[in-house]
């Protein structure tokens, strides 16, 4: 909701208002997932893989989302693997030009009994790094910018720890066991989320890849809807659920969880998505990554931004982790396009 008479807001106020669907001075620009690009790494001398493991470097690289690109939030987790590493998964840290990943072909768990959250889960270097980084960012930018943390949901942890195929087969063969495994894994989501809130996070992204590219909408209802609603009760900051890929068939269920916002992918049309959520939650998104941000230019980016704004999407940003080779000018095109759109509207 945009009211012309509203007084200028800080980036932080704008994002927090956007998450509550309250009036804003202009639509917040926000990426609840990674902003890292190779160009930005060079700019602040904080490169992958170190920037995923060293809190100062992580903070430096994350802050470029605000200082260089002009987003209204800072979200410092560039991967989806910090907690999986702390859970004991085999890691592939990769190089400057690729994201680190879990070797899902060498899973660490086979059965529910194996699901144990280690005692050092929050002091493991790869989770502690994020917590430490949030403290740094809070201190340096916390008054002006929304600091968003990230804690992975149990479904994605399941892919990492059981391996995607064994986990998906278990979900079909033994729903009871799968639910139990999710119940146990969700402790990791809650612990890591709480620790980031204590460190100063204003909001949390919760990625949980139950996407239409992999599983049915009925799966979302069966396994995750109630659990996501429970996260809303247990984690006392606004939550942004992230599921990339096709999700329109489960957006109604997502809206029913009471989550503050949903970060949606370009495979779902802005207007169609807005119609489904019916003002129950906020939407963040959905500028296409591989085709638009990575491969096209600022004009194409502007068109997608406008499509979102025209549909009334509450916060605008990329659909998922920004491709690492994306040009900075394509990213700055997002806030620029948002500002242009608003000034066009005011002059009417």
């Amino acid at each position: 909701m945009v009211k012309e008479q509203i007084k200028p807001m800080t980036s932080r106020e704008r994002v927090l208002a956007g998450l509550r669907r309250e009036p804003v001075d202009r639509t917040p620009v926000c990426n609840p997932t990674s902003v890292a690009t190779v160009e930005l790494m060079d700019l602040v001398d904080a490169h992958f893989p170190e920037a995923n493991r060293n809190p100062e470097m992580m903070a430096r690289l994350a802050a470029t989302g605000y200082t260089e690109i002009g987003f209204d939030s800072i979200m410092p987790v560039f991967s989806i693997i910090q907690e999986s590493s702390a859970l004991g998964c085999k890691m592939q840290w990769e190089q400057k030009d690729n994201w680190p990943t879990v070797r899902m072909r060498e899973p660490i768990w086979r059965d529910v009994e194996d699901v144990v959250i280690p005692n050092d889960f929050l002091t493991h270097p790869d989770t502690a790094c994020v917590i430490e980084c949030i403290k740094i960012l809070k201190k340096e930018y916390g008054d002006d910018v929304a600091i968003i943390g990230k804690t992975m949901g149990p479904w994605t942890l399941g892919y990492h720890c059981f391996g995607v195929e064994p986990f998906l087969l278990m979900s079909l063969d033994d729903p009871g066991k799968t639910k139990l495994a999710l119940e146990r894994m969700k402790e990791a989501t809650i612990q890591f989320g709480m620790a980031q809130i204590e460190a100063g996070a204003d909001a949390l992204t919760v990625p949980d890849h139950a996407t239409g590219d992999l599983v049915s909408g009925e799966y979302y209802d069966r396994y995750l809807k109630d659990m996501h609603a429970e996260f809303v009760d247990l984690l006392p900051v606004p939550l942004i659920l992230h599921i990339c890929g096709r999700t329109v068939d489960r957006m109604n269920s997502i809206a029913e969880t009471g989550i503050a916002a949903f970060h949606f992918d370009s495979k779902n049309k802005p207007q169609e998505s807005m119609d489904i959520i019916e003002d129950r939650i906020s939407l963040v998104g959905n500028i296409n990554n591989p085709e638009t941000l990575y491969a096209k230019g600022p004009d194409a980016v502007r068109d997608e931004v406008c499509a979102n704004l025209d549909a009334g999407v509450h916060m605008v940003g990329p659909e998922c982790a920004i491709p690492l080779q994306t040009a900075i000018e394509n990213l700055t095109a997002i806030p620029n396009a948002v500002k242009e759109w608003h000034s066009r509207r005011e002059s009417h």
């Binding site: 990769e94 994201w99 998906l168 079909l172 239409g212 992999l214 799966y219 491709p323």
Partner: protein, 249 residues
């Protein structure tokens, strides 16, 4: 021309009626299943259900009844995978269900494979498949592999994060006429082109047909990289591989 009512198995009739929409595909499936014997239809129905126990038992029974292993593979297992591929492409089923069907296929093939190789029956061809360097998304590639195997190809799976050398060595070792590469990341897509370069440098580019795929890959990108073909889903992957063979023949 056969008619739906010519198929004796009710489950197969229902599957075709409910989930197959494309007229050519309807016709092809009716032709196939109307022709095959009831036990093969039963095997196919169990595979489509993802019921590996039943596929296991029925395959064993069919072999005991002296039905030819090749017939069981073609008329039971492969025919069923065709329906599975269509249902997945058209979003009637999702990855877990397809994985269960693949497991059922494997249960049947566990009996068939040793018989076929002992009797010297050749697969259609060998296909080398792998995710390019740096890419660990393997669900789509694995579905392609299943459909290729489910269509009679022998597939060597190089897994994820495959280097140029691994691709080259595998093509050489297996004298494979077809290579498939998959990438899901913009950061790893260019590695397709690098691997193709490596084949040129190794003087092997003419020995192998190269197909590429994965969500961000497009026909245009495939052309730029110098690939021979692009496929947008697992069914196209099979069609492309078959197309390579007919060109060679």
């Amino acid at each position: 021309m056969a008619d739906l009512q010519d198929i004796s198995n009710e489950k197969i009739r229902q599957e075709i009626e409910e989930f197959v929409e494309n007229p050519d595909e309807i016709e092809r499936n009716i032709e196939t299943f109307a022709r095959v014997r009831p036990l093969m239809q039963e095997i196919a129905a169990a595979l489509i259900e993802g019921d590996d126990g039943t596929v296991d038992a029925l395959t064993k029974q069919a072999l005991e009844d002296k039905i030819d292993a090749l017939e069981i593979m073609d008329d039971g297992l492969i025919a069923a995978m065709g329906v599975v591929g269509i249902k997945f492409r058209d979003n009637y089923i999702f990855v877990p269900e397809v994985l269960a069907c693949a497991r059922a296929m494997k249960a049947g093939m566990a009996y068939i494979e040793p018989i076929l190789s002992a009797s010297g029956v050749e697969p259609l061809a060998t296909v080398i498949m792998g995710m390019v360097k740096g890419d660990l998304h393997d669900i789509g590639k694995n579905l392609c592999i299943m459909m290729l195997r489910g269509s009679g190809f022998n597939v060597v799976d190089l897994g994820v994060d495959t280097s140029d050398d691994e691709f080259i060595d595998a093509v050489e070792e297996h004298s494979a006429p077809i290579l498939g590469m998959s990438a899901l990341l913009t950061t790893t897509m260019p590695n397709m082109g690098k691997t193709i370069e490596a084949f040129i440098d190794a003087d092997m580019r003419d020995d192998v047909k190269i197909m590429v795929g994965g969500a961000p890959v497009t026909q245009e990108f495939a052309d730029d990289m110098g690939a021979d073909a692009y496929g947008k889903d697992a069914l196209e992957c099979v069609a492309v591989a078959k197309g390579f063979l007919s060109v060679q023949a």
